[in-house]
C-alpha cells in the first residue's frame, strides 16, 4: 500500500445506508430507528449496534451522516474516554445547534466495549448522561454487547445485531472494488479471500488491497501471504461448549474466559438446554436443577454480598449442567438468543402501561396488585369476552385509562 493511497476501507465506504453490504434485517431496524429521529419522535435515544468486526456497524453510521448531511461526531477506542473528554467533545455539541452547512448531527461512540472501567473513570456514566441529554441520535458500537459492564447501556439502547457477512456478500463488494481499481482477479481468488476473512468485510478489503499492491492482477498463489484470521469466541460457542461437553471439566473451561457475562450465560443456557437435551426428560430435569441452583446461588451472592458463592454458581451452570444424567447423543442445534430477554425488551413499554393500570385499579378496589391480577381481573375478562363494552366500562370505572384498556384485557 503506498503511503499516499487511502485505505480502501475508507475509500469505498458506502455513502448511502442501502449500500451497506448484507445484514438486511439490521439495516431495516436501524432505518426504522433513524426515521423515528427524523420524525422527531425517537423510539430510543441511542442505538447499540453490535456484532463481530467488519460487518458494517461503523459504515452504516458514516453512510447516515452522508445521506442526511449530518455532522458526524466520532469518538473511538483510542480516544481518552474520560468524563472531561466526552463533555468537551460530544456533549457541548449535542444540544447546541449545528455548524453551518449541516442539517443535523449524529454522534458515534465506537467500540464501547473497549472502555475500561478503571482507566476511563466515569466514561460509562458520561455516556449514559450523554444519551439522556442528547438532542441528536447517538450510536454506540460493540463487538460483545453482553459484557457485564455494558448492562446499563443495553437498557437504554435500541439493540441492533449485525451478523458476520455471508461469503457471497463479501465477494460482491470485492468484485466491485476490483472493477473500480481496474484489477483483474479470478472469482476463485476473491472467494478464497472472503473465506479467509470469515465474514469480516474490513479484513477482506484490507487483504485485497495488500495483495493488489503494485499490480493489476492477483492469482491464487499470491494468497499464501495472508495469515489465517482467528475467529472470536462468541456466546454461541460458549453455550455449545457447555451443552455438548463430554466431561464436566470441558464445560468448566468456559468459566475461565476473561469477560464471561455469567448472568447472560445462565439465560442462554436456560433457553437452549431444552433443545439440546431433548428428548431426555432426565437430562433436562437434571440440567434445570443445576441451573436453578446456580440462579439461587447468584441471588444469594448479590443479596448477602457473599462473593464466594460465585464459584458455586459458575460450576453449577457449567459442570453441573454437563453432569446431567442420560444426556442424548450429540446433535447439532441452532441456538437461540434468550426469548425471555427479547420478550422483556419488546414488551417493556406495554408492561409499564399494564403495571400503571393495574396499580390504579387495585388501589381503587382496595386490594393488592397481585390480588387484582389473580382474583379480580380474570372475572373482568370473562365479562369482557361476552360483552366488550361492559368489560371496558368496568375497567374505566376502576380508573384505568382508555389507552391502557387493551393492554390490560389482551392476555
Amino acid at each position: 500500500m503506498s503511503a499516499r493511497e487511502l485505505p480502501w476501507t475508507e475509500k469505498y465506504r458506502p455513502r448511502r445506508i442501502l449500500d451497506v453490504a448484507g445484514n438486511e434485517e439490521a439495516k431495516k431496524k436501524y432505518v426504522a430507528w433513524i426515521n423515528s429521529w427524523v420524525r422527531g419522535k425517537p423510539t430510543k435515544k441511542a442505538a447499540l449496534l453490535y456484532g463481530p468486526p467488519g460487518c458494517g456497524k461503523t459504515s452504516i453510521v458514516f453512510a447516515t451522516a452522508q445521506e442526511f448531511n449530518w455532522e458526524l461526531i466520532e469518538l473511538n477506542a483510542s480516544d481518552v474516554r474520560s468524563r472531561e473528554a466526552i463533555e468537551a467533545r460530544v456533549f457541548s455539541s449535542s444540544r447546541t445547534g449545528s455548524v453551518a452547512g449541516y442539517a443535523g448531527k449524529i454522534i458515534l461512540l465506537d467500540e464501547v466495549d473497549g472502555i475500561s472501567p478503571r482507566e476511563d473513570a466515569g466514561g460509562l456514566q458520561a455516556i449514559l448522561d450523554l444519551i439522556e441529554r442528547s438532542a441528536y441520535p447517538v450510536v454506540l458500537t460493540a463487538n460483545d454487547p453482553w459484557d457485564p459492564k455494558l448492562r446499563p447501556l443495553r437498557d437504554v439502547c435500541e439493540l441492533i445485531e449485525f451478523k458476520r457477512l455471508g461469503k457471497r456478500d463479501v465477494v460482491k463488494v470485492l468484485e466491485s472494488i476490483c472493477a473500480k481499481e481496474g484489477i483483474t482477479c479470478d472469482k476463485e481468488v476473491l472467494s478464497a479471500i472472503a473465506e479467509n476473512a470469515k465474514g469480516d468485510l474490513r479484513a477482506a478489503i484490507n487483504d485485497l488491497q495488500t495483495l493488489a499492491a503494485g499490480r493489476k492482477s492477483i492469482s491464487l498463489a499470491d494468497l499464501q501471504v495472508l495469515g489465517e484470521r482467528a475467529e472470536q469466541e462468541s456466546m454461541f460457542e460458549v453455550v455449545r461448549t457447555v451443552l455438548t461437553a463430554k466431561t464436566p471439566e470441558q464445560a468448566l473451561s468456559v468459566t475461565r474466559l476473561p469477560s464471561l457475562d455469567y448472568e447472560m450465560l445462565l439465560q442462554w443456557l436456560s433457553e437452549n438446554v431444552v433443545y439440546q437435551y431433548e428428548p431426555s426428560l432426565q437430562a433436562i430435569a437434571d440440567a434445570y436443577d443445576a441451573l436453578s441452583w446456580a440462579d439461587v446461588m447468584l441471588s444469594r451472592m448479590k443479596r448477602e454480598q457473599q462473593w464466594a458463592l460465585l464459584s458455586y454458581a459458575l460450576e453449577l451452570m457449567t459442570a453441573g449442567v454437563a453432569s446431567a444424567r442420560q444426556r442424548p447423543p450429540f446433535k447439532f442445534v441452532k441456538y437461540n438468543f434468550p426469548e425471555k430477554l427479547r420478550l422483556l425488551s419488546r414488551m417493556k413499554e406495554q408492561r409499564e402501561k399494564f403495571r400503571r393500570a393495574v396499580r390504579l385499579a387495585a388501589r381503587n378496589l382496595h386490594v393488592s396488585t397481585s390480588t387484582f391480577k389473580t382474583e379480580i381481573l380474570p372475572y373482568i375478562k370473562v365479562i369482557y369476552e361476552h360483552d366488550r363494552k361492559k368489560g371496558e366500562e368496568l375497567l374505566e370505572k376502576l380508573g384505568v385509562r382508555r389507552e391502557d384498556l387493551e393492554v390490560v384485557l389482551r392476555g
Binding site: 445462565l266 436456560s270 431444552v274 433443545y275 431433548e278 428428548p279 426428560l281 432426565q282 433436562i284 430435569a285 434445570y288 436443577d289 441451573l291 436453578s292 440462579d295 439461587v296 441471588s299 444469594r300 448479590k302 443479596r303 426469548e339 425471555k340 420478550l343 422483556l344 414488551m347 408492561r351 399494564f354 403495571r355 393495574v358 396499580r359 387495585a362 388501589r363 381503587n364 378496589l365 382496595h366 386490594v367 393488592s368 396488585t369 397481585s370 390480588t371 391480577k373 389473580t374 382474583e375 379480580i376 380474570p378 372475572y379 373482568i380 375478562k381 370473562v382 365479562i383 369476552e385 361476552h386 360483552d387 361492559k390 366500562e393 368496568l394 370505572k397 376502576l398 389482551r410 392476555g411
Partner: protein, 327 residues
C-alpha cells in the same frame, strides 16, 4: 341503581358500619370507637373475603364522615417497595394534623402479614413514633404471621368466614337489585365454590350474570371454567406429556402477556395441584412430592431468584415424575 356499570364488589361494599350485616360483635366494638372518638391500634385477621378491608374503610368513613379520605392513608404492604418506602410515606402523612374533631389520623396497612419480620420490627418503631396522632389498622390473613410485639400493641379482631345463610342472603339481595333471576341451586353452587370468600362469590355472580340474565348452576360453572387462566392447566398438561418446549411457551404467555409474577403463577399452580380435576392427579405421583417441589419454588422466588428458570426447573421435575410412572 342497576343501570350504572361497576364492579359489584365495589358497588355493594358497605360504606358505613351500619350497613355491615354480619360480624356483629366486631361491628359493635368498632362503633364504640366511633362514638368515643378514640381507639387503640387495630389488627384485623381472617381469611380473604370476610370483610376486613370493608370494615376498616367503613370505620374510617364513620369516624371522619364524607372527607374520610383526607384522614386515611391506605397502603398495601405487598405493593410498596420495602419498609423504607412504607415508613417514609407514613412519615410524610403523619406530619400534618388530623382535620376535624377526631384527634388522630388513620393508616390502613393491608396484607401486613406479607412483610418480613425485620420489616415488621421497623414498622413497630414507626407505629410508636407516630402514635401521638396516628392509629394503625393492620390487616392480615394470618394473625400468627404478625410479630408478637405488634400483636400486643393492637386490639386484635378475628373475622370469621360468613355463614352460608348470610352469604347467600347477600347474593340474593344483589341479584334482586340487578334485576337478575338466579336459581337457588346456582346460589348454592357459588357458595360451594367460593369457600366463604364473599368477594369471590360476588365476582362469580357478576361474571355468570353476563353469560345469562337467568343464572343457573350451569352458568355458574361456565363462568368459573373461564375464570381460571387455562394456560396454567395447559402448561401443566404439556409438562405431564413431556413437552417442555410447549410448557415454556405457555409459561411465557402467563409471565409476559398476562403480566403475572412468578409468585402469582406458583400460587395458581398450587391451586391447580389441589383441585381434584388436576392433570397432575397421577397414580405414580404423590401430592406430597408436588407440594414439596412447589413450596421450594415459592421459597426461591420470594428469595429473589429468576421466575422463568425456577418455574422451568419445577416443570421439568414434574415432567420427569410423570414419566417415571408411565414407562
Amino acid at each position: 341503581m342497576s343501570s350504572e356499570i361497576e364492579i359489584w364488589v365495589e358497588k355493594y361494599r358497605p360504606r358505613s358500619l351500619d350497613e355491615i350485616v354480619d360480624q356483629e360483635e366486631i361491628v359493635r366494638r368498632l362503633k364504640e370507637f366511633v362514638r368515643t372518638k378514640s381507639m387503640p391500634h387495630l389488627l384485623f385477621g381472617g381469611p380473604p373475603g370476610t370483610g376486613k378491608t370493608t370494615a376498616a374503610l367503613a370505620l374510617a368513613h364513620d369516624l371522619y364522615g364524607e372527607n374520610w379520605r383526607d384522614n386515611t392513608l391506605e397502603l398495601n404492604a405487598s405493593d410498596e417497595r420495602g419498609i423504607d418506602v412504607i415508613r417514609s410515606r407514613i412519615k410524610d402523612y403523619a406530619r400534618t394534623l388530623p382535620i376535624g374533631d377526631v384527634p388522630f389520623k388513620l393508616v390502613i396497612l393491608d396484607e401486613a402479614d406479607n412483610m418480613t419480620s425485620d420489616a415488621q420490627q421497623a414498622l413497630r418503631r414507626t407505629m410508636e413514633l407516630f402514635s401521638r396522632n396516628t392509629r394503625f389498622i393492620l390487616i392480615a390473613n394470618y394473625v400468627s404471621k404478625i410479630i408478637e410485639p405488634i400483636q400486643s400493641r393492637c386490639a386484635v379482631f378475628r373475622f370469621q368466614p360468613l355463614p352460608k345463610g348470610s352469604a347467600i342472603e347477600r347474593l340474593r339481595w344483589i341479584a334482586k337489585n340487578e334485576g337478575l333471576e338466579v336459581d337457588e341451586e346456582a346460589l348454592e353452587a357459588i357458595w360451594e365454590e367460593s369457600q366463604g370468600d364473599l368477594r369471590k362469590a360476588i365476582n362469580t355472580l357478576q361474571a355468570a350474570s353476563v353469560l345469562s340474565r337467568h343464572v343457573t348452576v350451569d352458568t355458574v360453572y361456565a363462568a368459573l371454567g373461564k375464570v381460571r387462566p387455562k394456560e396454567v392447566r395447559e402448561m401443566l398438561e404439556s409438562a405431564v406429556k413431556g413437552d417442555l418446549v410447549g410448557a415454556r411457551e405457555k409459561l411465557r404467555v402467563l409471565l409476559y402477556n398476562y403480566g403475572l409474577s412468578g409468585l402469582d403463577i406458583v400460587r395458581l399452580v398450587h391451586r391447580e395441584v389441589l383441585s381434584s380435576k388436576s392433570p397432575l392427579r397421577l397414580d405414580n405421583v404423590t401430592l406430597a412430592d408436588l407440594l414439596v417441589l412447589i413450596g421450594e419454588t415459592n421459597y426461591r422466588i420470594v428469595e429473589g431468584a429468576d421466575d422463568e428458570i425456577q418455574l422451568m426447573a419445577l416443570l421439568s421435575k414434574i415432567a420427569l415424575l410423570a414419566k417415571s410412572g408411565r414407562s
